[in-house]
């Protein structure tokens, strides 16, 4: 695929970014719906785990929108939300392994995203790589 110097406004959501937004969209839906339903129906069982799922879903949603929209602000939004995801999946992943009693029920980030083919672990790293790459191409 020839690397065209498209204007800043378009680059983040074109090329591989197109696939990235689709994956983020599906994960936003999955995590938000999961967290929302669990909080609504069985809040008492594992409030922390369910709230975390909902939080992860919202972060995925923000990242998807940040990647899909044009402009500097959304690029920053995407950068911040992908960073939050990296920290989230590492901290929650480690906590779920070291202190399983804190998480009676799984979240998308438990066991470093193992319940979701480790996509939650890989996705934000790919996202950050893509944002950096587009940013460098833009600057040159």
């Amino acid at each position: 695929m020839p690397e065209t110097t498209a204007p800043t406004a378009r680059t983040l959501r074109t090329g591989p970014g197109r696939l990235l937004v689709a994956v983020y969209g599906v994960f936003a839906l999955a995590a938000t719906a999961r967290g929302g339903f669990q909080l609504a129906t069985k809040f008492g069982e594992a409030p922390l785990a369910y709230a975390l799922s909902l939080f992860a879903g919202v972060v995925y949603l923000v990242a998807a929108v940040g990647l899909a929209r044009a402009g500097r602000i959304s690029r920053l939004v995407a950068l911040v939300s992908c960073s939050v995801e990296v920290v989230g999946v590492l901290v929650v992943g480690a906590a779920s392994v070291l202190m399983p009693e804190v998480f009676p029920d799984d979240t998308v980030w438990s066991h470093f995203g193992g319940g979701y083919l480790f996509i939650p672990l890989v996705l934000p790293v790919v996202g950050l790589w893509w944002i950096m790459r587009v940013h460098r191409v833009d600057r040159d």
Partner: protein, 120 residues
């Protein structure tokens, strides 16, 4: 849910994913035949969703109805949403989007069947 329709959708979806992956690796953008394929897949999905909604309205519903209905809505919307999103991209990443959607779809149907028949 109509079992044979679920099976057909899963097989068709995986075939579609395979085709789109081939297009991606051959560096081809999404073309109209891809779109027709997604349209046919969507019709199958809508058939299953329609038949299931009729059953649910008729009173035969799974224990976790709200969760089940949200999965139904997702499978109904996923093919057209991804087809449009992929078709807007005029590079090999267009079929890549469809391939991803077509790999997710059979998994969603596995979850739907689990919710429909919790024992299985």
């Amino acid at each position: 849910m109509v079992d044979w329709l679920t099976m057909t959708i899963q097989v068709a979806s995986l075939a579609m994913a395979g085709w789109c992956l081939v297009s991606t690796f051959r560096d081809q953008p999404m073309v109209v035949p891809h779109l027709v394929g997604m349209g046919l897949l969507w019709l199958l999905v809508l058939g299953q969703v329609g038949a299931t909604v009729v059953t649910v309205v008729g009173g035969d519903r799974p224990a976790e109805t709200a969760m089940f209905v949200s999965y139904l809505a997702t499978v109904a919307l996923l093919p057209p949403a991804c087809a449009v999103w992929g078709f807007m991209e005029r590079s090999k990443w267009g079929p890549a989007v469809i391939a991803f959607a077509c790999l997710i779809l059979p998994v969603l149907f596995v979850r739907l069947e689990q919710l429909w028949n919790p024992v299985a």
